[in-house]
Symmetry: C2
Subunit: 445 residues, 2 copies
């Protein structure tokens, strides 16, 4: 895929000259989409970043939020962009990508209000992802293909190994990547033909009626889905009834996953999950606090063979490292925005590979499915190199706001084809849903 624009020398090395960050919110709380045991009325939102350059290629990135709080991520992103990004050329970033990433996450004043977690790390994720989008557009490739074509050394050069070397050294990362090289082409061909397995969360939100669950499961089966997720944790009797309904509707052979969204303490998690064990769940997701490595380990021992899954609120690579070192998770649910963008995701996928744990990304929200459709391709081609027990989340809403929405065929994510990292939102959606001055919000606020 040659870049037709490379006759302009600037196009291979754009300079970042400015940016905009918008607070875009979708009023999903109106219909209980996205409701779970801890997040009653989310308005799925994004701090949406546009990198302006000295050529006609912009970089687009976002970080996903639930409404209130987006304004903080927006401002944090604006500061990071102003202080550490504007004025750099793409080549300056690429030539020491790990160094660029460390600079973003090591601002000597700003890091105190993190470090590498919460608001400022969500902002870092959006900024870093926007840079990758620009990079992929310059190379005229979808992001997954850009990274699929990199040398092992280039990939390792993107990663800040600070705090990781007791679990993964640069040499160990290189060895993982190089071992996969010979067979990468076969896996890429497989993906282009069959895609990467997905599961649906659209059927089991906590706010949905029993009837709606049945109807959505039946519809899912008709569309070819084999994995269904059910939100649990608010009331055991409700959960028992809903799990029975879902299991009956999907039959004994399809997988059912449970998601408690952090509702329990250790003893309660074990008791509640074991009560639901008769409906044969594959995993229990977020049984307790996302910060609690030791609790997840204890719960896993108490509910085996049901697996433990977590990650959507796992704040950074250092927490993922500990979950893996402790044997506390059986499914590694990276989030494309909560950690610091593609660079940090690569380090987590490499650690998951080293510890033999499948990466099953969190998605849904705004733009997460679009991001994930790249990340799983990278993992399968270059890192994890396996599809067994791997399945990526899919939630079917809000894709209509993106220029290049993810594509699902036969319950599988298909490799994106447009250059970039798929986060470009339609300008009319940004205008309409911008908080607080967009058409949707101006009368509500």
């Amino acid at each position: 895929m040659p870049n037709p624009k490379t006759s302009n020398p600037k196009i291979s090395n754009p300079k970042i000259t400015g940016f905009t960050v918008d607070d875009v919110r979708f009023p999903t709380s109106d219909q209980a989409h996205g409701s779970d045991a801890m997040h009653g009325l989310p308005d799925y939102s994004a701090a949406y970043i546009v990198l302006e350059t000295d050529c006609d290629l912009p970089g687009h990135g976002l970080t996903f939020t639930l409404g209130r709080g987006t304004e903080l991520c927006k401002q944090a992103a604006e500061y990071l962009l102003e202080a550490h990004v504007v004025g750099l050329t793409l080549n300056e970033i690429k030539s020491d990508f790990a160094g660029f990433w460390r600079k973003l996450t090591s601002d000597p004043q700003f890091r105190w209000v993190g470090p590498e977690k919460g608001v400022i790390h969500l902002a870092t994720g959006g900024v870093v992802n926007a840079v990758w989008d620009l990079y992929a557009k310059v190379e005229n490739k979808p992001l997954w293909k850009l990274i699929a074509d990199m040398s092992a050394e280039e990939i390792v050069g993107c990663i800040d190994f600070r705090y990781l070397t007791d679990a993964l050294t640069p040499d160990q990362a290189l060895a993982i990547l190089k071992k996969n090289d010979a067979t990468a082409g076969q896996r890429e061909s497989h993906l282009l033909q069959h895609g990467f397995p997905a599961y649906t969360t659209s059927a089991g939100w906590l706010g949905y009626s029993d009837q709606r669950i049945v109807q959505l499961c039946q519809q899912g089966i008709a569309e070819g889905w084999n994995h269904f997720k059910l939100k649990v944790g608010a009331d055991l009797n409700d959960d028992m009834r809903r799990a029975e309904i879902m299991r009956k509707t999907i039959g004994p052979d399809r997988k059912m996953m449970l998601d408690a969204n952090q509702r329990w303490d250790v003893d309660q998690a074990i008791e509640w999950t074991n009560a639901l064990a008769k409906f044969d769940p594959w995993w229990i997701e977020e049984p307790t606090c996302p910060d609690d490595v030791l609790a997840h380990k204890a719960i896993g021992e108490g509910v085996a063979p049901i697996g433990i899954a977590t990650g959507e609120q796992c704040q950074n690579r250092i927490m993922f490292k500990q979950f893996l070192q402790a044997g506390a998770i059986q499914f590694c649910q990276i989030d494309s925005c909560r950690v610091g963008g593609v660079n940090e995701v690569l380090s987590i996928m490499l650690m998951a590979k080293k510890f033999g744990i499948p990466v099953c990304p969190h998605a849904g929200g705004v733009g997460l499915c679009e991001y994930v459709s790249h990340l799983i391709m990278i993992d399968y081609i270059r890192i994890g190199a396996s599809i067994e027990s791997h399945v990526a989340e899919f939630v079917d809403h809000l894709h209509e706001h993106f220029e290049h929405p993810c594509v699902i065929k036969n319950a599988a994510y298909m490799p994106p084809t447009a250059p970039g990292y798929s986060a470009t939102m339609k300008p009319e959606s940004v205008l309409k849903y911008r908080f607080p001055d967009g058409e949707i919000w101006k009368d509500r606020v």
Copy 2:
């Protein structure tokens, strides 16, 4: 200490009617005060909260920051106050203090950008501390005395035990408190006479010259200090020279503590600390990432008998719980602002007691010494009930901006005497240092 104002019925139950939050920054970076291996040029700052009430008693609280990022904590505090605090009476809060705290930390949209960590949790700390300040002022007692006089049940009723019960149940907390009751009066008398042991960090900042270290250590010895902290981690040769200078100056019997401010990976931490072992350090503080329980455990095993200390960037009670459960720390350095205020600090002190680890609070910054001067009294009188191996940080600057600065006598914190939680800043300091419109900043920005 009867409250002379209780003739006005409202004064015993003020209603919170409004608030202001100011971004107050001190240009400490001008003189390398506060410099360490990760925070090159901090401007010690605070998001400063004033709760307005329907009587003449305001509540004052703050959260400590390093400059940039204060604006995010300010806005987060404003949202929490508006959404969850304004309109409540003190009695409504006190009657279910744990429930109030959980509500603040469980905002269904806002928690996504935490949860319970980083910007929004620092803001929670400031808000919660302001409520306690108001409570103590209504009772006409310094905060430490308010809590020293509470029943065990009242103290337990302030704590949200979610995610803690695998380490500490309400009943276990009650048992700890009740066991101490009979001797609490003796410890209070001891504190009123002798205070609580402190150590000084004023002598060993990374940006200070060798000569300045010698001079400040000599001055410290003359003032009666027996514990001195040295910042390390940027350059081993420098650290060897500086540690030798400090040890020679303070002599063999005084304690020297090292603080690496998160600079190292596991192997490097062990190697570097062991190289400095010949200067007989008591603890190594923040040897690596503050999120890394397992790494602290490994480092501790590699450098024993030097103890491991951490906590100033430990994000919440769940991380402290794991540090304690894993035996990863020998000194528990609670921070009065980073976690969600007094309520969460109480839970951490109770867990530290259960696991037999001394609480040695982090202080310095802006207002932290003032807060800590209450917390250590509470810990000694009601919870930890020991002074052996307990020592609280003291840094001698910025106290002049507070109405009731902490008092140090013979290298010990004396119990505060003014009603409240000592965070009331002088109005002229707030005006002068307010960012970006105060006198100090308006010409710089």
